[in-house]
């Protein structure tokens, strides 16, 4: 009968291998996604887009990097404001150019 | 201040480590003043038991600092994208004046904690704990280093503001440099660096063999280990990294840790660090062997540490050799 210690070590090894497998899985996933990513990047380049369309509820959050210096409802450039995505993303800090 | 998981983890680790060691200082002071094994009182017994806690805490601190060292360098490299002009860890560390001091202090903490653990390990082999006062005096000295490391690291992270124009490795390590030492290290001629490296490795391996064979000259091995560490680091910066990057003017001690280079840096640094800390430990154990109660155990410890040290340096040498051998870059023309 195998000893509990050996079983435990074996289990931990398996779990560690599974963790290693996530890296492999991730690498496969990334290489699968590469054409998709490239396509998106190409679209961005062709259209000259600047931002992700993750945050579309307010007119200044779709293009975060293009927001006004004083966008509406935004009391302070760093204020977490009313829209949920606004709490997720602050307006860009570097608007002055340099 | 940048809010980043790795930064929070690093601050947490060094803060707690400093706090733990600081909290042990009053106890260490009591030991230095009051330790008396002949005394059978309960106070003495309590003191003895407390030493187990301190030793366990120091082991945790050492493990955490080791992990933190790796994490720190890794994170510095990763943060390079946040700073204009920073292309790798060097750039990130140059963002404010506290970057490199933090790294150096972290290195110091790692080696000092390693030495302390060797001291503790050896002392625990002697039935009368002959080194206990030395050990706890050393702990008192270790505390300010740990606190300093935590404070300097705090200052470094607090001072970080994304998008500060910084120099990156290409300007720092090749011409027009900012730091004198790094520059002089980088401009070390390749031939000289490699011969120094070969010489110091040979010396450290020989002294290690002496410890292994005759169980003496541990102090020499420790000294040579320090020398080999310094020379090894310089050789990595000036020459070995160049072979890895295959670019004659790219000297950077951090980029070899990157994924682009297959994390090969770890294969260089880990053996070098193991070799050095074990070499130092062998010196300490050799020195401890002069105490009567340790005269049989300490040389054994010294021997096994020396074995690890020799193994580390040998591996380091082999990896360096392999890197040079497989590189497409040719720095020396072989005259047939």
């Amino acid at each position: 009968m195998p000893r509990p210690a050996d079983i435990a070590v074996a289990l931990f090894t398996v779990a560690a291998c599974a963790v290693a497998a996530t890296f492999v899985d991730a690498a496969i996933g990334v290489s699968d996604a590469t054409p998709r990513l490239a396509e998106r990047a190409a679209l961005v380049e062709r259209l000259g887009l600047t931002d992700l369309s993750l945050f579309t509820e307010a007119r200044y959050t779709r293009h975060l990097s293009q927001a006004d210096a004083h966008a509406p409802f935004q009391d302070h450039p760093f204020a977490i404001e009313h829209f949920p995505s606004g709490s997720l993303v602050t307006p860009p800090r570097h608007q002055g150019g340099h | 201040m940048l809010f980043q998981p790795a930064i929070i983890a690093l601050m947490l680790a060094s803060g707690l480590a400093a706090l733990l060691v600081l909290a042990s200082v009053p106890f260490a002071w009591t030991v230095v003043r009051r330790w008396n094994l002949a005394d059978g009182s309960e106070a003495q017994l309590r003191m003895e038991r407390r030493t187990y806690l301190v030793a366990t805490l120091l082991k945790i601190v050492m493990a955490a600092e080791l992990a933190a060292l790796v994490l720190f360098v890794f994170n510095a490299d990763r943060m390079a994208t946040l700073f204009t002009g920073a292309m790798c860890a060097v750039g990130t560390l140059k963002v404010d004046p506290w970057g490199f001091p933090t790294l150096y202090l972290k290195l110091a903490v790692f080696f000092l904690a390693g030495c302390w653990l060797v001291l503790d390990h050896v002392d625990n082999r002697g039935w009368d704990y002959p080194l206990i006062r030395v050990k706890y005096a050393a702990l008192i000295l270790l505390a300010p280093v740990l606190v300093g490391s935590a404070v300097v690291q705090g200052a470094y992270f607090m001072g970080l503001r994304a998008d500060v124009i910084t120099s990156c490795c290409s300007t720092l390590f090749s011409g027009g440099g900012v730091t004198v030492t790094s520059n002089s290290v980088a401009s070390l001629p390749h031939g000289l660096a490699l011969s120094l490296l070969a010489g110091s490795l040979a010396a450290v391996l020989a002294s290690g063999a002496v410890v292994l064979r005759w169980r003496r000259c541990g102090w020499l091995h420790a000294l040579l280990s320090v020398a080999a560490f310094v020379i090894g680091m310089s050789a990595i910066i000036s020459t070995i990294s160049v072979y890895v990057y295959e670019m004659p003017h790219h000297h950077c001690p951090f980029c070899i840790l990157k994924r682009e280079y297959g994390h090969i840096g770890y294969a260089l640094y880990v053996p070098l660090f193991v070799g050095t800390v074990c070499g130092l430990g062998a010196g300490i154990a050799g020195w401890a062997g002069r105490r009567p109660s340790l005269s049989t155990m300490a040389p054994l410890v010294a021997r096994s540490l020396a074995a690890w040290s020799v193994g580390g340096y040998a591996l380091f040498g082999l990896v360096a050799l392999w890197l040079i051998e497989r590189s497409h870059l040719i720095l020396f023309e072989v005259v047939p």
Binding site: T56, H94 | P5, Y52
Partner: protein
Amino acid sequence: MPVWLNRQRALLDFALSSLGRRLGKTLGLAVVYTLIVAVLASVMLFSHAIRREAAQVLAGTPELLVQRLVAGRHDMIPAERLDAIRAVRGVKSAEGRLWGYLFDPAAAANYTLMVPADRVVEAGSAVVGSGVADVRGVAVGDLMSFRAHDGNLVQFRIKDVIDNDSALVSADLFLVSETDFRRLFGVPADRFTDIVVAVRNPREVRTVAEKIDAALPDTRIILRDEILRTYESVFDWREGILLVLLVGAILAFAIFAWDKASGLSAEEKREIGILKAVGWETSDVIRLKAMEGTVVSLGAFLAGYLLAYLHVFHWGAALFAPVLKGWAVMYPEFQLTPFVDELQVATLFFFTVFPYTLATVVPIWRAATVDPDQVMR
């Protein structure tokens, strides 16, 4: 070496049986621990993946954008600025862009109206992103109409829907012709939204930007680097804030672990006393207890990380989608690319295992230093 190995094996055996004897307590601890790791790991994996996704997708963003500011507000830029910019040394090209937001009351959603540079859209027709098509339920050939700035109706026939694959960047796009754009918003022919500048030598971007800034003081200039960096730090920042909040959870857990470790039952104390009496040394007991802790924390870490990985990359990050979606009417459907970072896994390990170890060390030590003769008393 074999002695050392035998001892570790024997101690591990005993640690496991000791954990098994307190199955309820062990499982309770392990489950809470695993969940905490899983939540933390999900936050880290998710934000890293989205950060990398943004960095890769936006790599082709215009190098340099020039926008006119009037009283701190973005304003249309006159076409003659194009010539001024083209005159700056190092500028390869400068083109005016036309884009803006359009609120569609029928869908209560904001679209991004844009005149595409890469294709010609005929007047009266439009190419829409998949989000727009979904929210309005339109397909190729359907008609959509909006009220222009002067109250007139402008009609568009949908000519094409942008592939769903690129929804992450294109879900809300509404591509129209220049004529339609100007008619809809009343933008004069000599005005653009902003200007895209290409630079001859990429290393010179910053210098060129400074020159443009000096030549056109009423503009602001946005660099690609800045956009990328902003996204990077924006998600970092958010991840950090979340983690700081979660540190509360970690702390609570550390206290919980401390309590569990220090609140040793009478039975456990008796066991330790017996072990010491029959010849176990204090450091053996500490090692035994440390092993118990390691089994729990390592197990929880591995299980928690694996759960988080599955959750974020294979189960669609179900927990985070609501936060990200917010009130957005249009939310792009996208499959997160599994970018995983070793640094993150290392940080996570540090974050979860280190506090636990520290929280349990003092109680363990206290338990391990009971008098060996107490079982005789």
